[in-house]
Symmetry: D2
Subunit: 512 residues, 4 copies
Amino acid sequence: MSTPAKKTATNARKKATAPPTYANYIQGAWVPSKNGEVFANHNPADTRDIVGYFPHSTAEDIDAAVAAAAEAYPRWRLVPPPKRAEYIFRVGEILIRDKEAISRDMTREMGKVLKETRGDTQEAIDMAYFVAGEGRRLYGQTTTSELANKFAMTVRDAIGVCGLITPWNFPIAIPSWKILPAILCGNTVVIKPAEDTPLSVYRFVKAFEEAGLPPGVVNLVTGYGETAGAPLVTHPTIRLVSFTGSTQVGRLIATQAADKGKKCSLEMGGKNALIVMDDANLELAVEGAVWGAFGTTGQRCTAASRLIVHKKVIKKFTQMLVERTQALRVGPGLDPANEVGPVINQDQLERVLHYIDIGQTQDKAKLLCGGKRLTEGDLAHGYFIAPTVFGDVAPQAVIAQEEIFGPVTAIIPCQDFEEALAIANGVGYGLSASIYTSDINRAFHAMRDLETGICYVNAPTIGAEVHLPFGGVKGTGNGHREGGLQALEIFSEWKTLYVDFSGRLQKAQITD
Amino acid sequence: MSTPAKKTATNARKKATAPPTYANYIQGAWVPSKNGEVFANHNPADTRDIVGYFPHSTAEDIDAAVAAAAEAYPRWRLVPPPKRAEYIFRVGEILIRDKEAISRDMTREMGKVLKETRGDTQEAIDMAYFVAGEGRRLYGQTTTSELANKFAMTVRDAIGVCGLITPWNFPIAIPSWKILPAILCGNTVVIKPAEDTPLSVYRFVKAFEEAGLPPGVVNLVTGYGETAGAPLVTHPTIRLVSFTGSTQVGRLIATQAADKGKKCSLEMGGKNALIVMDDANLELAVEGAVWGAFGTTGQRCTAASRLIVHKKVIKKFTQMLVERTQALRVGPGLDPANEVGPVINQDQLERVLHYIDIGQTQDKAKLLCGGKRLTEGDLAHGYFIAPTVFGDVAPQAVIAQEEIFGPVTAIIPCQDFEEALAIANGVGYGLSASIYTSDINRAFHAMRDLETGICYVNAPTIGAEVHLPFGGVKGTGNGHREGGLQALEIFSEWKTLYVDFSGRLQKAQITD
Amino acid sequence: MSTPAKKTATNARKKATAPPTYANYIQGAWVPSKNGEVFANHNPADTRDIVGYFPHSTAEDIDAAVAAAAEAYPRWRLVPPPKRAEYIFRVGEILIRDKEAISRDMTREMGKVLKETRGDTQEAIDMAYFVAGEGRRLYGQTTTSELANKFAMTVRDAIGVCGLITPWNFPIAIPSWKILPAILCGNTVVIKPAEDTPLSVYRFVKAFEEAGLPPGVVNLVTGYGETAGAPLVTHPTIRLVSFTGSTQVGRLIATQAADKGKKCSLEMGGKNALIVMDDANLELAVEGAVWGAFGTTGQRCTAASRLIVHKKVIKKFTQMLVERTQALRVGPGLDPANEVGPVINQDQLERVLHYIDIGQTQDKAKLLCGGKRLTEGDLAHGYFIAPTVFGDVAPQAVIAQEEIFGPVTAIIPCQDFEEALAIANGVGYGLSASIYTSDINRAFHAMRDLETGICYVNAPTIGAEVHLPFGGVKGTGNGHREGGLQALEIFSEWKTLYVDFSGRLQKAQITD
Amino acid sequence: MSTPAKKTATNARKKATAPPTYANYIQGAWVPSKNGEVFANHNPADTRDIVGYFPHSTAEDIDAAVAAAAEAYPRWRLVPPPKRAEYIFRVGEILIRDKEAISRDMTREMGKVLKETRGDTQEAIDMAYFVAGEGRRLYGQTTTSELANKFAMTVRDAIGVCGLITPWNFPIAIPSWKILPAILCGNTVVIKPAEDTPLSVYRFVKAFEEAGLPPGVVNLVTGYGETAGAPLVTHPTIRLVSFTGSTQVGRLIATQAADKGKKCSLEMGGKNALIVMDDANLELAVEGAVWGAFGTTGQRCTAASRLIVHKKVIKKFTQMLVERTQALRVGPGLDPANEVGPVINQDQLERVLHYIDIGQTQDKAKLLCGGKRLTEGDLAHGYFIAPTVFGDVAPQAVIAQEEIFGPVTAIIPCQDFEEALAIANGVGYGLSASIYTSDINRAFHAMRDLETGICYVNAPTIGAEVHLPFGGVKGTGNGHREGGLQALEIFSEWKTLYVDFSGRLQKAQITD
């Protein structure tokens, strides 16, 4: 995840008429920020369109939300998990019912095309059904004891109040990855979504409300990182901070959490390689590269921002890729004819253009297509960038090392399989990787030796399913995984239980 | 774990004759510290006895050891885990053979009685056999995919070079908890043991050498926290820091690790409650309290430093406990007649005596027995403290809140079961707890509601078995567990693998 | 489960007007039996009430159903499990919607009170949500290989066409235990429900139809054991037979299945002990005994048909139990005031009365209450038996050894805990057991030493939850368990996969 | 496994001098058969060499052994599993020490070459270390309850006395697969090994004796199937029968076990296909085919007895295979120069020659090499058959459908991948399969669609590792797997435990 750069905000009381004003959700009630301030949420495809006004919250609001969560915690922790799960199943059903409306709102507030926002919503649905399945599982272990008449076992226990900080690129999917396992495990939460996408989380939280979730279990506070996120991270009652976003912000949060003795889970940046071997199905590889590089306008932590291509096929691959890229239709995501939407905001626009400049000037890479903002007609009102492909990029080039988080990808030539792996592993991140090859031996070698948390064979670097762990190594994470049962390791603590029913003092390891 | 306070060290080149001088183990060779300096390791039961001289290592030595581990890593990672396990089984067999000698050395260097050092060695043996069993397990998951002709699975992968920092109270058991799963998972390690107990770890490392472990997989560097531990924590090549020790030092290490983007696992302090209900088997409870409070001279992170006793039985319990405590025979651990050995060093002696003073003066608690240093005869040459029981201690008293890490325990009266739980949970730590009761309903309520990582019923707060997770919540840990399969979550990273064998681009969650 | 004794059937073409005629469900269509014959389904609370007519199917119908299942199998096996699960979630939602109607029908056709038939339907709902959760799990294992460059893993695979034979006492819950995991695992099924309760299964199958399940995946054939069940068991295409019913019939089926090389899963009879210790909460124990013995009119395989009571409390317990039993209101289950309904049919009525006679004459036990058919007023039209308690029953008495499957329980005195266990274990069955005691040591000893598949502490012998394994040892089963993930062991086969990507011949265990 | 055809036996009291006479092992003592009779164990490579005389046991001996096992059971069941495991680790260490001697004895009594008998012994060693690892695992599950204040969990329990019947082709490996998990789970056993290989099991049992296993836990009775095996299967005290051998005998045993209500686990025949695709590494495929077909003289249940080869490469493959086959050196296994040993006995010799005759006459297949007994020089005293390859074999030919269990393989041509799968699946067995292909898509399709319990990619059909499940579908098994954790499903029963600590009657699924 890249740094969630800020949209221009109106830190003023709302004046205009049309766009609705939304509220925080604290203790089961919809309330404005204590200071009464709001910020505007713009449509990145047309900044004239204000989606709504959201509370510009500060530490006071965080305090209230954390207090609500703390109050709800002892009771929620004792609700039998199958009952907790019933709320989540209901949330899943509500999301199915409202999928289209939620997805349209999401496209409007963050830009990616409707097909993808539907996928985003679907991911929250899938996560709801998957996580709710833990209501009747949450397995711990019974095991043996080395001592007679002693019983030994483990159970999972809740942690307490969790602070969740989520980005704008998967506005409902990522919150679902955090909120759902957190509350299934018996925790209560306060979520502070990115200031660019509060509406999607609002709609998500509405589903919890409709499902009848007890007040205080899920609390929503909108606002900015410095003013609302920071006090959440350092709040003494918060036992766990779960963050998805840039590596830079993630490290800072982790350091603060460590200093305060909080548990901390991070999902951060990526610089993901898609390797194309000489025996690859090129058609398939190109299609995967296009989708991997430009899906979500390249604003995925798993985006295929590096294409490592075998010299034998690089010429043909490049030609096919550029052709396909140039044919991509860019425009507002609500128009079903468009394939690529805008980037999220002005800062992000500038950041991407800056990297495109570096690629040409500093890295001396070959700009094959794209490389500029699109401003024809109504596009001028949005943050549109033409999908950009660089060729002949050196593995150590800036655009081959740093996360751009936009519709830009870099073709890096390689001599053979071993070099491909070395290049792929030669970055500071370790989130996702992909290899296109028809050879089973190479595929298994790659799966073993690629230094990433996720690895695809003959599929692009993106496309995780909710029931498998998601996350990365090296600069990408701090050892945790979301998705899959591995998420339970974040949101619960193991408790080891020994019952000695021998009626006498027994000592493990010690012979009297 | 309390702060590993330092022994008086001789930061000078060794002059005397008799005591042997030991070396660091780097890249399969025994080498002195680069600066040639050593420190003396004294017998805490008789400080005239110098156990040996050990390298007073600094950053240079750490660099060499980390380099060795880094060099060994790529090859070791590819050794099939069943083969890795064979080395560990062999280590287990060697420890069985040398158990008595190792245990005597351990008593000599750190003081606890021989019966307990044998238990300590046995724990490393048990851990070896348990962890080696993962050589043919290390299970990941195969699972389903929502897309046809797509295969999805997870595997565990190694992390890289691990830095391990271990305390003096379980000089071989705790290193075994870290080294064994670390290398079984394919990592290589550098261990920096407490300066008070380098000999035990030396002997442990000798077993790896004899087992034929490839050079560089396990490296040992002795020295002090500031000079040898600190550079290990911050070394850029180190991917994971695993620390057992005081909460204060642990937080500092965690903060540094977070700042550098390293994974970090912490096992820290405890203030463990042993609850005695009115329906408890009092005989058993007293025996458990004595063993829980004074085993290892109270220097266990799981020591029963709080005894929360129901008012109906407190009088009788107190009388029985004091009687049993006063009967404990204190003296050098090598004499089989002794039941309680010395504390580890001068700093720790002073720290414990200081808390005993606070208990009397500031906390106004009732000193029921012990409370002073023992200096009769040869005891004067050691760090002996009479086992100490305080009565009528308030839940908020300093000695009922802070970790003392010595032979001191505090009896806290309670009115009923609910109050007992509230007192038990009313501290900043969350490692171990215990309840003595014959009532099954109370036992299950307590197991559910005690806020600790480990909970015992009708057994003292100490006595973990290697195959169950060990660690705590709140101020005790940062979410990880050692022991059991849970240790694998520390020493490996999940890798998610998707193989799409459909021959076409498929998109999870998205319907075209 | 006892032998499903037959209701009087009208093996004639249907003549009357009012009651509806139902059909078999084969290949997604509702079809009559090939011979056109039907049998009547009577209300056991009032045999004048004909619930409906159902196909009196024979081998021809079984052939057609098996053929449909076989045809559907190859495609269904390849439907991604998350998609299979979506059908099952939908079935769960439909059952929630229709819960009341289904439950009323169920009470009408098999007699148990409405509160219990609602529980029966709820169990199918719970099972649907639980099993569907496996759609994104179905975990196999990735593991290590002792050889380099070799990958090893396991997956679960489907088995083929399954033949399911289910009893009348849990007319929808038990079919849900079999159909749902069977189809989730990729199998297709033919179910032959007990002739006493075809309507409940009809309603269940309607839910699959409404959910859009592909034709042929679930097929329903109604009829009798000899004419429809037998040809299902021996059909050459059937790969697995899953049966719940009497031990006698189960053994016969298992023998036939073994002879034909089919997999076979059996859940059979029980003779379950509820132990009451002298330290038990007597109020709770009596309540549990009444519910355990007379719930479902005693027609549960887990019914508490033996009450083993400590001599110190037997007098009081007996008095309280008889009092509570005599107060039970017996009558048609649709009347909410009634607590106990009729037994299922004439054969079962006679069987129970026969055992009551044996208890008095042969066993010389003391009839404390009940012991006769109830025929006052409209009860004369149903199969009502007064809840019956025998006292002073010897452990070896017929009524303490054989499964009665009716509202009859036997109080057996015991001297102490050890004798209680010996009596409890002294029968040929091993399904469920229960102990009432407040002592934690006794509870854990009992949980360890009771020879049953299910064991309760301070709860009656009945009340399983869907996500835990259900089944028994000794005469009760053949090693399988339904419910929980253990059900997957029945309905799938493990497949071990090795991929050698070394490019050379490697030999496990062998050193060249 | 094929039918263990009998060696010529001397059912007479031993007269000669040299060869030793061995005894049964019952209740920790070495005892002759009650009738005092023995049978001779010949060396199949030279029948003049009598390996020893073994008890010709009957029902009386079985009775004594079962009684010993039954007596030992209650105590052994309560030995803490980590302690049970220590015996097994010790057995593993003894086998390592004696590996060479055991392996030489094994070659002498059953013929396969020394390299392979060393592998056989190694497999028992690996199994010992693997299974012993369960001593500190044997995991059951703690889980949630839908009711408040109720605890729910599962544990594994022992079954009782197990009867084990093992074949001669893996004389120590297969007994290790059964005995070790059986006793680790707390059962006691009686083993009746094949009459052709009693010495190997004798040596195995000696290791248990030396390890100090309590008397009665493992009992050995030698003899024939009809006289010693049959009474073991039907003995009323036996709770579980585990059999490896022919499908014919297996079905009979299963039927008897079902009739008596015993649990039964079967590993039976195979007719395993090795598929060679046109994109295969032919060199590797040929090497794999030779090893798969002629390893253990083809007497493996996993032998590659069918080679399904793509038409494009069949000519070259055939030529290479025949060349390699003809070069195999056949002779006594103790001579390290030999690669293929004799078949086990006269019956098996005749059976294999009979199939070779059928292949030529009835199946009209092309005999490419081998096809006859070898009788030159000393070979005349042994049961040697030249490695035999048939070409142009039709999928439905007798030699392509029935298990031969000898050094005979059949090349079957195929048109494409789909046909290869269809042919591979077109037999009544389902044990092992293998595919040689470099294409990852084909490999994954094959792994999914081959109807076997074990599947290899680019490795022959043989070579299982102990920690993965072993066994098959269709005619090969009855749903169980040996090896891996799946073996625990055979040798233990699940017990579900519910503890209600609410103090009131709660009812699952039912709302009052």
